[in-house]
């Protein structure tokens, strides 16, 4: 089963964890065969929100909602169950600076 681990950090802490540590974490997941994908994200100021309303494309600056913590990156991991996913999420370095939201992936009903 796949779990998406969303990394959230306050703006001031976006670079609080050294990149080398994040790279090492990803390598660890890869070598244990649990890694599906992982990326770090540029800060929220670079985000663009896209919507289609009444058939019209609307493009606006910034994220959908103002929150204290912002999405800083993600890991898509393979785990047997939630306990295994939680254990993996606890190893993601920004867990100690911000928070990791662990979401099970949904299969499309098709």
């Amino acid at each position: 089963m796949k779990y998406l681990c969303l990394v959230y950090l306050e703006a001031a802490k976006m670079r609080a964890v050294p990149d080398t540590e994040c790279r090492a974490c990803a390598e660890g997941f890869r070598s244990r065969g649990v890694m599906v994908a992982a990326e770090a994200l540029q800060p929220v100021e670079t985000a663009t929100t896209v919507r289609i309303r009444n058939g019209q494309l609307s493009v606006t600056d910034g994220p959908f909602a103002e929150t204290k913590e912002q999405l800083a990156g993600f890991y898509l991991l393979e785990a047997r169950d939630l306990n295994e996913a939680i254990q993996a999420a606890a190893k993601i370095p920004p867990a100690r600076e911000g928070s990791i939201e662990v979401r099970p992936v949904r299969d499309l009903d098709v």
């Binding site: 089963m1 047997r80 169950d81 939630l82 306990n83 939680i86 662990v102 099970p104 949904r106």
Partner: protein, 413 residues
């Protein structure tokens, strides 16, 4: 009155003594709470039909689990047929059912622990853990739980549905945690048990001081946990609950008013519960791995064993609070310690500690902070300040007997 029906009695007995074990095992076999609940009702319905014809089986539990499992497989087959799914996927699902010896005593006992740990999984919201535990582990009806927690039944039902859905969708495993996680996870289970007990013992809102059913469920649950997993703090928590329970009859007057520990009729305390509690404390202390519940139980035991409030060994109680503070630095513990210090050294010493807590900005909106301050100020003869503190406590309490008690004290000033 209809004549006694021994078969009906046997089914009822089986329900009372085995339904939680049957459910716990069916959840493991079927991998789903709702399917297991349906299968269990089907199994008991089948028992009502078949036991009068075929006699009560030698091992009712095994019969019920096996029947429940077959009923679930039938239901699955029917569903698949209606949904017109291919036969292979139905076979796969049914085949996934564990064919090995599910009925041996050890795996059945493990199932009960699996159920407890799953219901108290930290990924579930705390109030959902409580509701799910009472529903699935204790077998209380949703309406009973709703009444006990003064929550509308639909809200509570929704909470349980959401929790079960999260267990299924997020795949919370049905297992006893590994050794490395056991202590943390058991802590979460014990928190739920103690919360249920306290809700029954010192109801946080409402007209009656105690809601006895919840406390007895919590004690029953505590016994099951100690039986299945005799870890020191599980034993300590059971002791703590028994010692509190021993005083239940004396905590309120005939008119439903609160009676303070110092004014309770100690001859009415339940000696059997006290001696069971004390034995459990000794057992927990002997492991040298005990935690906060055991120390709290030891404090309760000092009270339980002293003939009067004046004869209480307050030095020992302060010492136990010191030990407790080392394990858990919560300001509530410090507040309780302050009350014990006041008994040992005088109200001024106690008040200094309470004021220090408040000055730090902690427990400022906690009703018992102000009730304790008020009592200490009253004993020091500082009546105006005591009055203000009683009024503050009154404004914060939501419990009717507590309100009457505070009002009485305020009137006496």
């Amino acid at each position: 009155m209809p004549p006694a029906d021994p078969i009906l009695d046997a089914v009822n007995d089986a329900y009372r003594s085995e339904s939680r074990r049957v459910l716990a095992t069916l959840i493991r076999l079927l991998g789903d709470f709702d399917a297991a609940e349906d299968a269990m009702s089907d199994a008991f319905r089948a028992a009502l039909e078949q036991w009068p014809r075929e006699g009560v089986p030698v091992n009712p539990r095994a019969w019920l689990v096996s029947t429940g499992r077959f009923k679930a497989i039938d239901a699955l087959r029917r569903q698949k047929r209606f949904a017109q799914l291919d036969e292979t996927s139905a076979a796969e699902t049914i085949g996934a059912v564990d064919e090995t010896a599910w009925a041996d005593a050890e795996s059945v006992e493990d199932d009960r622990l699996r159920l407890i740990f799953t219901c108290c999984h930290p990924a579930l919201a705390p109030d959902a853990q409580v509701a799910l535990t009472l529903r699935e582990v204790c077998g209380l009806a949703t309406e009973e739980i709703a009444r006990a927690f003064l929550t509308p039944a639909p809200t509570l039902a929704q909470r349980i549905v959401r929790a079960k859905s999260k267990i299924r969708v997020a795949k919370i495993p049905y297992e006893v945690p590994a050794r490395a996680d056991l202590s943390d996870r058991l802590g979460a289970v014990l928190r739920v048990v103690y919360l249920v007990f306290n809700e029954g013992y010192a109801a946080s809102a409402g007209a009656s001081v105690t809601r006895h059913d919840l406390s007895s469920e919590a004690i029953r649950l505590g016994r099951v946990i100690v039986e299945l997993l005799p870890e020191p703090d599980a034993i300590g928590l059971l002791a703590l609950m028994l010692l509190h329970e021993s005083r239940r009859a004396t905590r309120t007057s005939a008119s439903g008013d609160l009676v303070l520990l110092e004014d309770q009729d100690r001859t009415q305390w339940d000696r059997a519960l006290i001696s069971e509690g004390v034995t459990l404390i000794e057992q927990a202390l002997a492991t040298r791995r005990f935690g906060p519940y055991t120390v709290q139980a030891a404090i309760a035991a000092v009270h339980a064993e002293s003939p009067s409030a004046d004869a209480t060994d307050w030095s020992e109680i302060v010492g136990l609070y010191d030990a407790l503070r080392e394990m858990d630095s919560s300001p509530v513990i410090e507040l309780n310690r302050a009350v014990a210090v006041a008994m040992r050294d005088g109200p001024a010493e106690g008040l200094a500690i309470v004021d220090a807590i408040v000055t730090r900005g902690e427990l400022a909106d906690y009703r018992l902070t102000h009730a304790a301050r008020a009592d200490l100020l009253r004993r020091l003869g500082r009546r105006d300040e005591a009055r203000a503190a009683y009024e503050r406590a009154l404004a914060l309490t939501r419990q009717e007997p507590e309100r009457r008690f505070l009002q009485r004290r305020l009137g006496e000033l």
